[in-house]
């Protein structure tokens, strides 16, 4: 451990109002910490710039998963393990449950939270593409009140988010209208477990009358933000899945993403694999359509 604990302050008020008023009274001073699976890595390396940490893992409102007729609302401090174990989440939002199972090891899944994953805003985060294709909405809360933001508008640039200095993510709401879709998730990491994604795909699709009625594609690790492939989706919608369309999709994906060379992989590899993953999904969707 390279950090000096004496240089850090950690408080744990235990209720939402107290947390919000502290964030309001000293804006940008306090870093909310839930499971700590990102924060503590920086801390341990002596690279955590924030000196004041405020615990939000013990706030009951942030720990619930509520099921409403039209939506499932996930408290921001719900862990990956809670997501994996939740009946509605695993049944109706398998892309999210699968992404939760990819994240770190079991210990990380017991500590890491969905809200933390969003706020940390890594483009390589495994659960974020799933939120994009499920049309998630996030509720941000502060002493000033609450507001709702479509998740697709949440990330504005690399590690930049819609969160104001005094705001917390309260919950993530998923509309319950995707259970009839074919869903497909694939993560490509440097190994088959405990790996940061080189590319990861969350995809939903529906076939009607032999053609794509709706398709939703999102990729991680291929741009400064988790990326919904709007152009590619438009190019596919209403079309019959045939080899030329798959080629078109592949090309469109490569055009739409902005991968980079880094310590884990190359831009060229990421682009090729992103295209391959989408092609693989379309073939699966075509096969499902043919069997329907």
């Amino acid at each position: 451990m390279r950090a000096d604990p004496a240089e850090y302050k950690f408080v744990s008020p235990g209720n939402l109002q107290a947390v919000l008023s502290l964030l309001a009274s000293e804006p940008a001073q306090w870093l909310p910490i839930a499971g700590g699976t990102d924060v503590m890595v920086l801390y341990s390396a002596g690279k955590l710039p924030n000196r004041k940490l405020i615990n939000i893992l013990n706030i009951p409102e942030l720990r619930q998963i509520e099921v409403f007729p039209d939506s499932v609302r996930i408290g921001a401090a719900c862990t990956y393990t809670a997501l994996r174990k939740h009946d509605n989440v695993s049944r109706e939002f398998p892309l999210l449950a699968t992404a939760a199972s990819w994240t770190g090891g079991i210990a990380n899944q017991n500590r890491g939270t969905l809200g933390g994953n969003i706020a940390n805003a890594s483009p390589a985060a495994d659960s974020l593409p799933a939120l994009l294709v499920y049309d998630a909405e996030v509720t941000l809360i502060s002493a000033r009140g609450a507001r709702r933001v479509a998740y697709r508008n949440f990330h504005s640039g690399y590690k930049q988010t819609a969160l104001a200095a005094d705001e917390l993510i309260r919950d993530i709401s998923l509309p319950r209208r995707f259970s009839e879709y074919l869903s497909h998730a694939r993560k490509v990491g440097a190994r088959n477990a405990q790996a940061i994604s080189k590319v990861c795909l969350a995809a939903l699709g529906q076939i009607a009358n032999g053609a794509i009625r709706d398709v939703r594609l999102a990729l991680g690790s291929v741009a400064p933000v988790p990326l919904r492939l709007n152009e590619t989706e438009r190019a596919l919608t209403g079309k019959k899945i045939e080899p030329p369309l798959i080629d078109t999709a592949r090309k469109s994906v490569v055009k739409e993403i902005r991968p980079i060379d880094d310590i884990r992989s190359t831009a060229r590899y990421r682009a090729a694999v992103a295209g391959n993953l989408v092609a693989e999904f379309l073939e699966k969707l075509a096969a499902a359509g043919a069997n329907a």
């Binding site: 390279r2 000096d4 004496a6 940061i196 884990r264 992989s265 190359t266």
Partner: protein, 663 residues
Amino acid sequence: MNHAEEPILLLAHAERHKLRRAIDAISIEYEPLPSVHSMEESERRSTIIWGTDNTFKSYLVEKGDADAVWKDAAHIVEGEYFTGAQEQLYIENNGVIATFDPENGVTVWGSLQCPYYVHKALMALCGLSEDKVRVVQMETGGAFGGKEEYPSMIAGHAALLAIKSGRPVKIIYDRMEDMAATTKRHPSRTRHRTAVSKDGKILGGEIEFAIDGGAYTTLSSVVLSRGTIHAGGPYYWPSVRIRTKALATNTPPHGAFRGFGAPQSLFAMERHMDRIAQVVGISPVEIRRRNFLKPGQTTTTQQVIREEINLNHLLDRALELSDYAAKKTRFAEENKDGTRKKGIGIAAFLHGAGFTGSGERYLNSLVGVEAGADGNVRVLVSSAEFGQGTNTVLCQIAAEALGLPYENVSIAQPDTTVVPNSGPTVASRTAMIVGKLLQSAAKGIKETLTKTGFLGNDFTPEQFRAACREYIAAHETLKSYARYEAPGDVYWDDEKYRGEAYAAFAWAVYVAEVTVDLPTYAVTVDDFVALQEVGKVLHPVLAEGQITGGVAQAIGFALYEKVVWQDGRMINNQMTNYIMPTSVDVPPIRVFFEELGNVHGAHGAKGIGELAMDGPAPAIVNAVEDAIGVRFHSIPLLPEDLFEALRPAPLEQDAPSLTRGTA
């Protein structure tokens, strides 16, 4: 400074968190000098960083007339092969505690493999006599060679600080420091040029083997030696010239890692054998069959194979256990469709046990056994337990030699004030060499008791206990020592690098089955058969564990573990970005043994610790070629490498092999 992680200043503080502030308060001015960061740069010699030619050590092995073979060759097959650096990734990082007082001198407790190496280093560094330096090996969380030499460095640092401060000093590296600064496996480059007959027999050839030693000599000459002697693989070379060198670069020194040079040169040999097979137009199985060493033939160093090893039998059994023939046919058929291509590959290899050539003679190891008045026996060796099962196996050998229950034998903590110097815990030597000495020392206890009339030839543990009690009442202590004696028939010429390189070889044939997933260009190993002849297997569970662990580590070497260098520094020095395989990346490893026995080892044992590191990488890369028909020459072989080779743009093919004669 010769590399970026080189220690230049030692700082200690009673509160370690405060140390950061001390570091921040110091500024160091560097004047950059030209530096060298690859073997190619080093051998160009435009910048000299070591001696006159950037070369720590070179060897030349010559057998027969290697220049005369080319005219009779039907095929001349050339190839160039590379292996990368590999980090040991022991569970416990390097760490030591040191104390000093003027009366007793320096004491170091540490996570280490070789207490007497540290002892020797501290005597020289601190200018202290033998009895004023004490080194104690603590329970050590893995080593794999990574704690052979580095503990001497860190123990030196802690000792100097303890002397200066008059207080105990603890240094424990964190993972990032350990990965950045400590020794790794030497990167290598091997060039083969082989003359082959029309029917696939090796006539002779040239092998050039080079390793990147980093900024200081350290163990490079010894690693190079083992790589040199293993470069010809388990094959008969009527004539050969092997030129090898260890080059200087401005990276932290590379060092010992399980296999010690052999995995590097054997990777090249076993990839090259598949290449020769293609050129000749026979199968990978057949090319090996036609060239295997047989009893009575000589190795590249002209060591006569005296044991009755039958490599064809080993090969047949490995093929049968892996269902090789049926799979080969099935995969060829199934690979016509789909995006998941399957392949199967083999590697045949050998590993010499114990120190090379005259090494064991210089080590001159001493092993002791002590019996107490309670009839319990204690093994006195400097051999260290770091997870491989040494303590168990050594106690087992002593118990067996004395005819006592295992429970009556214990082993002393390696402490230089208690145990004699039985040599370092390296080179697959412990069970074989130290074990054999231990057998003699244990028998010495029995002989002392029988000769003095305290014990009959047949005895129960109770009678043994009574005899010990009576003997110790009369003589105070009961100890027996055995010192290494070189076998009379062992001949080694250090100048010509010729003769009996090792007292015994372990032999193996491994078979790897892989899938290449085309959408992601990823290789996974699906099945693995590891068949070896290691003499008598002393402890089946531990032996299997050694092989399984070695294969898993070699899968990392082949497919996952890549040190990313930038100006001589490792920049992916975190387990997040330096990728070792997890349990889901490792297939079922099916381990099988043949047992020929070995006159030089305890109960006929040979060395086993390193063998399993040698074969998996070439077997896996051979299987990848079988799956997708693309030749790879370099490991680690990552998905990005497969992508670059498979993407639609025209591939750079290597120069076609020269084929002449009637073929």
